[in-house]
């Protein structure tokens, strides 16, 4: 019963105040760390959105270029649009394939705007295409983030008009 060793073991460990202090210190230390993690998470999310915006910028510009000069000329009013939520078919023009690839739901937080300017206005030989992509970036000052893409489509080869 009076084994000093046993008694010594029994009394080693953290006292309640010690624990409380440790927890307080740990908590105070952890708080900025959590903010750090949070920031990292936001930056990662921003990077993800940036990549999505880039994907949108690349694919939409490529699709418009794929129309070629004459295609753009014929579909001018349909290709150019004001701010519009990104949804539906991935391919322009809208696919009639019911199983066609659609934009993922995540893309709904993005909006695009396309402007197309002919040059010269009469009998154009170039179209300047500007694409704006914007989205709400949580926790960012101003909330809205945007990127610009653009290209120029020219009339090469056989001339199909005056």
């Amino acid at each position: 019963m009076n084994d000093p060793i046993r008694m010594k073991r029994r009394i080693s460990g953290f006292s309640t105040p010690e624990m409380l202090m440790t927890i307080v210190v740990f908590s105070f230390g952890l708080l900025p760390l959590i903010m750090l993690f949070q920031k990292s998470h936001k930056v990662t999310a921003q990077a993800k959105n940036l990549m999505v915006a880039q994907t949108l910028g690349r694919s939409k510009i490529d699709e418009i270029r794929a129309y070629g000069f004459e295609g753009v000329k014929k579909n001018l009013s349909r290709l150019a649009h004001s701010w519009k939520q990104v949804e539906g078919d991935l391919v322009i023009p809208e696919s009639t394939d019911p199983k066609g690839v659609k934009f993922p739901p995540y893309y709904k937080r993005f909006e695009t705007m396309v402007s197309i300017t002919p040059y010269p206005v009469e009998n154009p030989e170039k179209f300047t295409v500007g694409l704006n992509v914007r989205w709400i970036e949580a926790g960012r000052e101003g909330g809205t983030f945007s990127l610009q893409f653009g290209t120029v489509i020219v009339k090469l080869g056989a001339k199909y008009g005056p």
């Binding site: 740990f26 952890l30 750090l36 940036l50 915006a53 500007g130 945007s146 893409f149 653009g150 120029v152």
Partner: protein
């Protein structure tokens, strides 16, 4: 208390660990973001570089189509099919940095992009290869036809060739992030074709590479004399060339075979009050325009006249200055003796010198008129023996031939080819004794004889006596000359005729499309600017509905369009310069022209400018037959429907044209005798007095305004009249400044004839960079 206090240490260690993790995480996230941003900027840079490069391509295409076509062609002169590319292939001495061409891209950067700072740094062109397009035999100099009177082919200096080059642009775009500048490089290469869209054999109103199908032996005698319609060549007199590969026989009309008033009829000798008909191939009058279709000395007819003299017409004086110039131009020793009143001294010399020979035609209606109506638009004179060939000598005594013979094939150094490809006619030879007012025709002693002399126009008359002394001298000369002509020339004519007959039995070996023919057999054979058309195509289209059109529906020509089929059902108007090529024979959709094909004319000036179409129908049978199958050759003609069809183009059809109805009661599209007078071509008036109603001809016959080229003429398929007007309103053919058909093509002509086309296909693309500077 015996406390060890590990709790604090553990907590601090854990916190430290978490801090490290957090820092790494933040660092990782920041890097990820930076990479994502960089990727975005790279995408933007690539898109802008792509846009700037396209703008540069547009600019260079414009430049090479226009102002820089000349330097480009000049550079290509020294390029060969293999080995040597065009000198200075980078073209950097004439092609600058195209940064200024990217105006829209620069504008886009300024107005559209909020970040980062992007700049197009440079757009530098490179030409990596520049060679002629290899058209096989059509590119071999020896195989391109050059006539006897020229030392060189028409498109010399290689500037007339088609070219293929690879143009690349290396575009640099800089993206500035903070103090660092990231440079991206974008490279894009496209092919460019530079195509000669000028007419084929443009110095020729007609160029028939093989003439008739020699394997069809009857065709040698018959093909050019069959078909209800006439093939009429309206040459620019003594300037336009006509090439016809022989042997072939052009039948000449005999007026005695007609009755007065016959719609097909002609001049009736015993009723001179009846005007000569359109097909009258004999000299009936003492105007130069009445030149006969037969060679000197075999004049067709000598008019009787009074012992007291006759009317001496001053026809040269009645000609316009242009006509006089054309008549004198480059003909035999730069002169043409006008047929004129013959003196009594000459008559006496004729009488004592066994009379004169004359010849008559054998056909009821002549249907191939290479010198136009009444022989009044003769072709260019080409000497039989030019001095510029070492193996040939000038003609000697009695005098060089004054006859205007059709150009036919020859090969330098091989006279057999020339002798074997001549064009003949078929005549009956008579002999006429005439002194003063007495005349008799010898009908015995073997006359009339059938002869096959070379087909020709005679524009020289026997020299006329100017006085008694001159008369005796001429009499003496005529004695010897007649002796020469009787002893030497006649047997030669007979020999030539007989030679043609021999070839009926043993046809000459002639190049055809059959396999196994090498280039030595097609030396000096193909017309200039002939080519392997698919190789020069810049766009492939299904049919005429896909030909680019402007807002008014006019065809826009630019380069060589390769069509699967060609069928028009109404009039079309074209703008620009180009070739339309059809290479397939589709029986269900044969090549058919169903209406006018007209050059666009500026509404203000009414000028067609340099708009030009070269129409090429070179069909390949899709049913297993070879292109030279005799049956195929008789069915693959280009069809022209209707009688008032005008084709303003250089028209090539492999096996000729099919038109009109074979129904003998249907004479649509064939002019009657009265029609010629109605349309202003009075046979009894000199050309200067003609007031030709060309619109009337265009509206009532089939007209090709340009030139006509074929492999086989297949005349028997023409059942409507076809007029070929060598176009003197088209700068590709005619120089208005000098009033001459063009034969030497200047740099300006070659520039006008060529169009440049970038391929829509990308040959090479690369994008790299991003490293900071």
């Amino acid at each position: 208390m015996n406390r060890r206090g590990f709790g604090y240490i553990t907590a601090v260690l854990i916190l430290g660990l978490f801090s490290f993790m957090g820092l790494f995480l933040v660092q990782s996230s920041s890097t990820e973001y930076s990479q994502a941003a960089m990727s975005c900027y790279a995408t933007m840079a690539q898109q802008l570089a792509e846009a700037a490069t396209d703008e540069a391509f547009l600019a260079i295409e414009k430049e090479l189509k226009g102002a820089k076509m000349g330097p480009l062609l000049k550079q290509g002169e020294t390029a060969t099919l293999k080995g040597i590319t065009g000198l200075n292939p980078r073209l950097l001495d004439i092609l600058p940095d195209y940064k200024v061409a990217a105006a829209q891209t620069t504008g886009l950067i300024i107005t559209h992009f909020s970040r980062p700072a992007i700049e197009v740094v440079s757009i530098l062109p490179t030409i990596t290869d520049f060679r002629p397009i290899d058209h096989g035999w059509f590119t071999v100099d020896e195989c391109i036809y050059r006539p006897k009177d020229r030392q060189y082919a028409f498109d010399r200096d290689n500037k007339g060739r088609d070219y293929l080059l690879s143009i690349g642009f290396s575009t640099k775009v800089a993206v500035k992030l903070g103090s660092r500048k990231h440079v991206f490089q974008y490279q894009l290469t496209r092919d460019m074709k530079v195509i000669n869209v000028a007419p084929i054999a443009r110095a020729y109103s007609m160029f028939s590479c093989l003439g008739i199908d020699l394997r069809q032996q009857d065709d040698i005698y018959n093909d050019l004399n069959r078909g209800k319609g006439r093939l009429i060549l309206w040459n620019i007199p003594f300037q336009s060339r006509v090439y016809f590969h022989g042997p072939a026989v052009i039948g000449v009309e005999n007026p005695d075979r007609f009755e007065p008033g016959d719609e097909d009829g002609a001049y009736v000798i015993n009723k001179p009050s009846v005007f000569p008909g359109f097909n009258q191939a004999f000299q009936y009058d003492d105007t130069y325009a009445g030149i006969s279709y037969v060679p000197y000395p075999g004049r067709a007819l000598w008019q009787k006249r009074s012992i007291f003299g006759g009317t001496h017409k001053n026809d040269l004086g009645k000609m316009t200055a242009d006509e006089q110039r054309m008549f004198k131009h480059n003909t035999y020793v730069n002169k043409g003796f006008l047929p004129r009143y013959q003196s009594r001294w000459s008559d006496l010399s004729d009488y004592f010198n066994f009379g004169k020979e004359f010849v008559r035609g054998t056909y009821r209606k002549q249907v191939f008129l290479p010198a136009g109506p009444y022989c009044r638009t003769p072709w260019r004179f080409v000497g039989e023996r030019p001095a510029n060939w070492n193996n040939q000598t000038a003609d000697g005594w009695p005098h060089p031939s004054g006859d205007l013979k059709l150009e036919h094939r020859f090969v330098p150094g091989d006279n057999n080819v020339s002798d074997n490809s001549k064009i003949y006619t078929e005549l009956k030879r008579h002999r006429l004794y005439q002194a003063l007012t007495f005349a008799s025709t010898q009908k015995f002693g073997g006359y009339p004889q059938t002869v096959n002399p070379e087909f020709s126009l005679t524009f020289g008359n026997p020299h006329d006596a100017e006085g008694i002394l001159d008369g005796f001298l001429i009499l003496t000369e005529n004695v010897f000359k007649t002796f020469w002509e009787t002893v030497v020339v006649v047997p030669r004519m007979l020999f030539i005729g007989g030679e043609a007959l021999v070839r009926l039995i043993v046809p000459r070996k002639d190049p055809t499309l059959a396999a196994g023919v090498d280039y030595t057999q097609v030396k000096n054979f193909f017309p200039n600017n002939f080519k392997n058309f698919p190789k020069a195509a810049v766009v492939k289209l299904r049919d005429v509905s896909q030909i680019p059109k402007d807002d008014q529906g006019f065809w826009i020509l630019d380069g060589l369009y390769w069509l699967d089929t060609f069928q028009t059902t109404g009039p079309v108007v074209y703008k620009g310069k180009g070739v339309i090529f059809v290479g397939d024979y589709v029986p269900a959709r044969p090549f058919t022209i169903g209406g006018n094909i007209l050059r666009y004319r500026d509404p203000a000036t009414k000028s067609p400018g340099d708009n030009h179409l070269t129409l090429v129908y070179y069909p390949f049978p899709g049913d297993g037959r070879l292109p030279d199958d005799p049956g195929f050759l008789n069915e693959c003609q280009a069809i022209v429907q209707g009688k008032g069809v005008t084709i303003e183009a250089s028209f090539f059809s492999f096996a000729g044209i099919r038109c009109g109805s074979t129904d003998v009661t249907n004479n649509d599209g064939c002019f009657s005798e009265m029609d010629f007078t109605t349309y202003g071509m009075n046979p009894n008036a000199p050309t200067a007095d003609w007031n030709v109603n060309f619109k009337g001809i265009y509206d009532n016959a089939i007209s090709i305004c340009g030139n006509y080229v074929n492999y086989f003429v297949k005349k028997h398929r023409m059942n409507s009249d076809v007029w070929v007007f060598h176009d003197n309103t088209n700068p590709f053919y005619y120089d208005k400044a000098t009033n001459r058909m063009k034969e030497e093509y200047t740099d300006a002509d070659e520039i006008m004839a060529h169009t440049a086309h970038l391929s829509p296909k990308i040959q090479h693309l690369a994008f790299s960079g991003g490293g900071g500077e």
